[in-house]
Amino acid sequence: MEQLIFNGLTMGCIYALIAFGFILIYNAVGAVNFAQGDLVMVGSYLGILGISYWGLGLLSTMLLVIVGSAAYGYVFQRLAYYPLRDKPTITVVISCLGAGIFMKNGMQVIAGPEPLTMRGFFEQETIQLATLQVPTQSAVIIVLTILLFAIQYWFFFGTALGRRLRATANDKYAARLTGIRVRRMIALAFVISCLLAGIAGFILVPIFLASPSMGFGLVVKAWIGVVIGGFGSVPGAIVGGLIVGLLETFAASYISSAYKDVITMLVLLAVLFLRPQGIFSEAIQEKV
């Protein structure tokens, strides 16, 4: 039971990180980023590149993932979003979808389709926590996620730059009127989103096989988390991600592992039909 909760929370943390990045882009440009999962995949491969191919240490690989993902995020927004910024949102959505296909198949050409993995970050496999045997990697993921969210909280609520980002997400015209460089803020939102996706991808590799097509399943779960939590809401994305992680772990062990994805999706449909505004209600009427 405790073990299940831990496994669920671990995946939940990953989904929450992806969902948070997803929400950042959504709030910045109003488009659903279909490539978010593929950005996670790029992070995983950067991690594998650092640790398995270049033989770097843990911290330098983390640095590689952070810098690489951030740069990647900038290029991504420059190519897939920026040229379409004045077009209807639907074109950005489809463009991101295309960019995701490009990344997935590009990685397949570079690294081959075979799933890759790496050993855990630390030698010790489990740590004793009172009466509980906790897998070290799960602990790493949970602690890092909490840390990342704490940093994000500080960044968004404690710094001037974060306030400018929030202002941009809230109302672009008003933000521009007050002298905020809106385009740069949007680029920054993409970079942070990509960075979180990259880190999520990296810390995920030891417990999840990395393959060029891994992103799809992950992003679907993250979306479900986003919808359950409430579209556009940041606490909603975190809580929603955790709920999805727990839900799928419990569904797999108590109901059927074959149907665990069906069950999470049915829960999503139930939320959409019964309470489409999610847990942290946001206004959902269509913007006209």
């Binding site: 959504y26 709030n27 109003g30 659903v32 190519l79 897939a80 040229p83 379409l84 077009k87 209807p88 949102t89 639907i90 074109t91 959505v93 489809i94 463009s95 979808l97 295309g98 960019a99 995701g100 296909i101 490009f102 990344m103 997935k104 198949n105 590009g106 397949q108 050409v109 929030r166 997400a169 809230n170 109302d171 672009k172 015209y173 799809f216 679907v220 979306w223 479900i224 919808v227 579209f231 556009g232 809401s233 940041v234 074959a258 149907y259 994805d261 069906v262 999706m265 049915l266 999503l268 449909l269 959409l272 039909f273 489409p276 946001e282 206004a283 009427q285 269509e286 913007k287 006209v288």
Partner: protein, 335 residues
């Protein structure tokens, strides 16, 4: 384009479609032509929802799967003929669209996109896991070819004409609806749902009709896909199918029937022409989607229109937004 020229073009296309099998050298190309026909039915179906009504739906693959499985199960496990299977496939897909349309069509914007996407995935997962009925991952095999009065359409050549008949019927239905009161109601919803409602259009019913039409088209496409391939398995009905259908429509030009035809033919044949790209093809395909959105928002039909209008007249035409969400303001809910 005047009426006579239009008619001449339609007649010419029809002649080409009828005589095409005799110009194709190999059975492989014939199969490809059949596949174009089946995809075209899916694209024409999506055109009702995305092209006319402006709703981005990823449910098309789900209805395709429902159609394919319904007819395959009836024809293999229960020994019914192809035509019974086909009618059941269209009926099952249509019925499914009515049942799920009730809650799904209430959703707007991204919620609708998500819900349709999830429905498509659920269809695939159920096909994968419901072993007793769908035979799980191994799928169903030995799906029989259609027969009429003892003549079996079991070759690619004869099957081509079955597919062609359905494609022509699909085009005819689309063209009639486009010109009808219902079609104009759908266009009105695409431009502004609120305004359409204020004009007295029953938007719920109109959207449901478009959704059901798309499902029936996809169901028929599914029933045709089974006999063409003789085998179906869950991995055929992945998200990629929805993407191919969407990109075909976008490449051709959303909301136009010739656009749907041109787009489908191009997207099905491109992998053949670009065979030299090998494993790079899918990469280029992804990048192509990004470029398509940037440079050809109205697809090939937009290009043709620009050529026809000529550069001099181009400035006089007001540019319409591609169908889809109304142009948004920058205002966001929440932070």
């Amino acid at each position: 384009m005047n009426r006579n020229m239009n008619r001449a073009l339609i007649g010419l296309s029809l002649a080409v479609a009828l005589l095409l099998p005799f110009t194709l050298a190999s059975g492989y190309h014939l199969r490809l032509a059949n596949l174009v026909g089946i995809y075209l039915l899916l694209v024409l179906g999506l055109n009702f929802v995305l092209g006319y009504t402006g709703l981005l739906s990823f449910a098309q693959v789900g209805f395709f799967a429902i159609g394919a499985y319904t007819s395959a199960i009836l024809t293999t496990d229960y020994g019914f003929g192809f035509w019974v299977g086909l009618c059941a496939a269209a009926g099952a897909a249509g019925l499914a669209s009515v049942i799920i349309g009730e809650p799904v069509l209430k959703l707007r914007g991204h919620y609708f996109v998500f819900a349709t996407f999830v429905l498509g995935e659920i269809a695939r997962l159920v096909a994968m896991n419901w072993d007793d009925v769908t035979h799980g991952a191994s799928g169903l095999s030995g799906i029989p070819a259609p027969t009429i009065g003892g003549f079996s359409f079991d070759t690619d050549l004869s099957f081509y004409y079955i597919v062609l008949a359905f494609v022509l019927a699909g085009i005819f239905v689309s063209a009639r609806i486009e010109k009808s009161k219902i079609g104009r109601a759908l266009f009105a919803i695409r431009e502004s749902e609120i305004a359409a409602e204020a004009m007295g259009i029953r938007t719920r019913q109109a959207k449901q009709l478009a959704f059901t039409l798309s499902a029936v088209f996809a169901g028929v496409a599914g029933a045709l896909y089974g006999p063409l391939n003789t085998v179906i398995s869950p991995d055929v009905f992945s998200f990629d199918v929805s993407v191919i259908v969407l990109v075909s429509l976008l490449l051709g030009g959303t909301g136009t029937i010739p656009g749907a035809i041109i787009g489908t033919i191009l997207i099905t044949l491109l992998p053949e022409w670009l065979r030299f790209l090998n494993e790079y093809y899918m990469m280029i395909y992804g990048a192509g989607i990004v470029l398509l959105m940037g440079f050809l928002p109205k697809g090939m039909m937009g290009v043709l229109e620009n050529i026809r209008l000529g550069k001099a007249k181009k400035r006089a035409r007001p540019r319409l937004d591609p169908p889809g969400e109304t142009r948004r303001t920058d205002r966001q809910p929440g932070a």
